[in-house]
Symmetry: D2
Subunit: 320 residues, 4 copies
């Protein structure tokens, strides 16, 4: 393969720029030409494509977001849009793509691969919701961002002896809540994969208060089957304890990526361009333990994941 | 004066612990005994009072929140509650108080002073809404916390070319929005002191987009006379640009205080104990320019403030 | 086992407190009594031992350093000292120990185990120099601290177009330099495991300058076989480029642990108390991939490690 | 005035970019053309000058360093160099300059003003060593960077019960040491303006140890009349306490500027372009209390400053 493209798609995540840098510099090192595609599939259809060189990716390693920008593309959802994308790649002579994004973006890549484009999928999402990889690019940064917010909230929560419900991102996957909950010392962690047991939460709140605990932090993923507002009101009603809400929102998406996310992104992206250079079929690149792994793209997206029950149990034991 | 007390009241703010440390160590240095009163006026009425020594305030300088905790006290709102507080102080032999809190807390101090207790009020609030002082303890930290959130949000906002409305604290006073807006490079700043001009915001959004701006950050104080939800929807409708909301909430209250807030708190608290030691009447301690100043407590609370129009104009000029 | 002790030894590392917390709460959860031993082996010999409860480890999860403190102990190097330590444990009825520390500390644990004490070793060191585990507790935090310093230095280095040599910790193991180097985008990484090739460094500096690079960051582990001073002078002489030195020192040891270090510490420490509770022999607990693993203590300490050549190659490719 | 230039000179400081942004956008707002001069006086002599527009300064507000870069210029030290600089400005039609830098850089500006160029000097240096202004651009950021390092070092210092001497920047002016010392809770602060009293330091160390203090932090400005090495050895010898050294170096120069430094830079730079637009003579712009002030350039540079004795006394009282 001589010419490849790189694009980012879907919600951005910290470390996408590190992945772009590694894909570009890695591709050039391996003797390929590399093109940046602006605004994901939307830019691909529109031909927002330009060649990148070593300097195109200077001083981006530490930046959040994505210099290639990202967008949702209605047009790419259609066969017609995908054909148009394929034609555009042909007119630039681009044979393979590195696609950095979440589940939906990689599914888009799978669609494109059916039109004869070789696609290397990289898991770029803070949600850690891709079953084929232990960790996604951006997850570690996001958890650390939540930790920093938890630390601030604990200060004020302790001063007032109040309960605070912190809503974090995660529609279907509660990993941000789970990891930030354990490492932030949250008293209760609520994730979409497990139902809400109001009695258990109230019990823990009351026991904590009786033991003289100054604060009570509940970390709740947004996808949990009870609104944060309703939860807070119910807890207040049942325990009589003042209960406040903080919705962290988009601050979880940004920020300079952690060392781990930069490393993950760099290793995965380099593996992706190596695979393209070797003439591999379409693959999804991930990490298993400390090893970079890759699977047939369609297979990877069919895998099912579950949350880590041991981590949840440990969180419960340690937050007594 | 031989025995004094320290309490924190109302919403906590970063730097309160630095103020407590300076009051305690300063008082001891000046030859006085010093008592900590737990949970503000509530603890004062209940006699949650204990003597502090040099080590009581070790390793608290860098901590957010307040080790003396804080609470709202309904009981203290009544004359009866205030008398009870006065009696409690008498039974401990405490003649003077350092009270660290916002407008309401200092008004409580003024009430208490009318029962014969000498009160030194310190402006402990992130809101910067006390007219008698240029800056309050916690304001600088809070603005820097907002800046850090703005930085994260700008990453993701740029990647998506979207508009984000960031709601910050400030019911009556827009200083957090104003200072974080100018220093965070927000395109628009909305404060309670000034009405919302929807047309002006839309114009700026459209002009920015036409000039190729990747992001548009609007910082809005919570007290502005239009809900953040309504604002975002109106902007989206009128400009057709995707508009997201982030409500920063309680993360603005916590966090390790900045150097400036620690300095401010230390200097003000030491001045307060000096005044007590010298037998001064009740005063409010503040900063004017770079000088620590103090006013008769009642007079201080009568002063009116306005927002800094020059800062607003400058923000407008620089965010073209 | 009914009674266990916890101690930290050697240089401290971020995450030790998270490990202490998990050991204490985990042990209590599993029905054991748990004692904290102050100042490592020195305190063990002196009987600085006290029972810990759930509240003993409240609000320490996010703190750097170790609440149990640490010390070097000459006395424990001798058989006599070790016997004394064993007797002290007997007088408290403590049968097993969780020891958190680096190579030397775990070797001390191995010595103690020969006197009939069951020892669970946890890798608590920023150096990542224990062969039996992929990562040590504190390494991730330390690398992120270095990254943050690199970011600051890059600002000023770019403004002056100068070369900066940053010396980081690592006497025998260059992992901090290697990981911070790749993720910080350092132009050159020097580790003790590989010799210094002055010509290669100069070549890269000159090529970078010719390509218009504004800065040149060299990250060098302290254990490299050429002093930082000599290196900087040699580079300046040969290339004519201004070359500055920054020695990061002890800031790498402190700081609030990252999410990853807290997770690692919590999981490892809980495994250690589980093993003690189950009546296991002495083991070293580590992580392999994403799995918590454990080895016979003596075997673990005999393993040999090498640096990750793939990471080094990747760093080289990406820092063109 | 219709055409002005902006340059940064000397050591860089955080906030210089905020000043450049405000000068450029402010000048354009006021109807002037504005040119950026690369690499300070060196670039001025060489004609590295290009026109800037609103977008030239997008997304630089939060960045450390200076996008205009800086350099020392031997050539500009000569009358001939200054004449050459003046000619270069004439050939571009530039009548006035905004110069952001420290004492030496502003003296360069004064020299240039004698050749008929109107110069507005802005205090851009972390050292806070310019007498005519209460604070310089970059000082607040630098103090906060030192605080963050102190916090890390305290963790490890407490764990080992050791003394640490932290050397910070400041050749003639000890303000970084003084402000970071007070706000970081350092036990001892050593500045060039005051001699070293070894006995006093030892006394404090021993008294602290006897009172059970876990750590002892000494913050020392680099310009103090005793080397850090010698100091540490002397203290160790006299007290028998382990004493470590950390030299913070260039990390103090970089980093994203604090809100306060961005505000200071923005206000000062806008005032500078206003003065140019009004046809003012050469001035030095500074801050006095909370007011932006300006003085005749030569007069400003003749002023003498002293350290703040009250702050030093307060630091001493609070660090008992």
């Amino acid at each position: 393969m001589k010419k490849i493209g790189v694009l980012t798609s879907g919600g951005d995540s910290p470390g996408m720029n590190a992945a772009i840098r590694a894909a570009v510099r890695g591709a050039i090192y391996l003797g390929m030409d590399v093109y940046g595609i602006d605004k994901g599939y939307e830019g691909l259809i529109d031909g927002d494509i330009s060649q990148m060189n070593i300097s195109s990716v200077s001083d981006i390693l530490h930046k959040g977001g994505t210099i290639l920008r990202t967008a949702r593309s209605e047009r790419f959802m259609t066969i017609e849009g995908q054909k148009r994308a394929k034609q555009m790649l042909e007119s630039f002579g681009i044979e393979g793509l590195v696609i950095i994004g979440g589940d939906g973006s990689l599914r888009g890549g799978l669609d494109l691969s059916k039109h004869g484009v070789t696609v290397m999928g990289l898991p770029g999402t803070i949600d850690n919701d891709l079953a084929y990889t232990d960790y996604t690019i951006g997850f570690d940064t996001s958890v650390n961002t939540v930790l920093s917010a938890v630390s601030n909230i604990r200060d004020t929560s302790s001063s007032h002896e109040r309960t605070t419900v912190i809503e974090v991102m995660g529609r279907h996957c509660g990993d941000i809540a789970l990891y930030a909950g354990l490492t932030g010392g949250a008293e209760t962690i609520l994730i979409p994969e497990v139902g809400v047991d109001i009695n258990a939460i109230c019990r823990k709140m009351v026991q904590g208060r009786n033991r003289g605990k100054l604060h009570n932090i509940i970390i709740k993923a947004e996808g949990v089957d009870m609104s944060t507002q309703e939860l807070a009101e119910t807890l207040k009603e049942r325990t009589g304890m003042e209960t406040k809400i903080v919705v962290l929102g988009y601050i979880q998406r940004g920020g300079s990526p952690t060392a781990r996310d930069r490393m993950l992104a760099s290793r995965m992206a380099y593996k992706a361009v190596e695979l393209l250079q070797e003439g591999s079929e379409s693959r999804a690149v991930g990490i298993n333990g400390d090893e970079i792994v890759h699977y047939e793209l369609g297979d990877a997206l069919k895998m099912k994941r579950d949350y880590d029950k041991q981590v949840m149990e440990l969180a419960d034991i340690l937050s007594i």
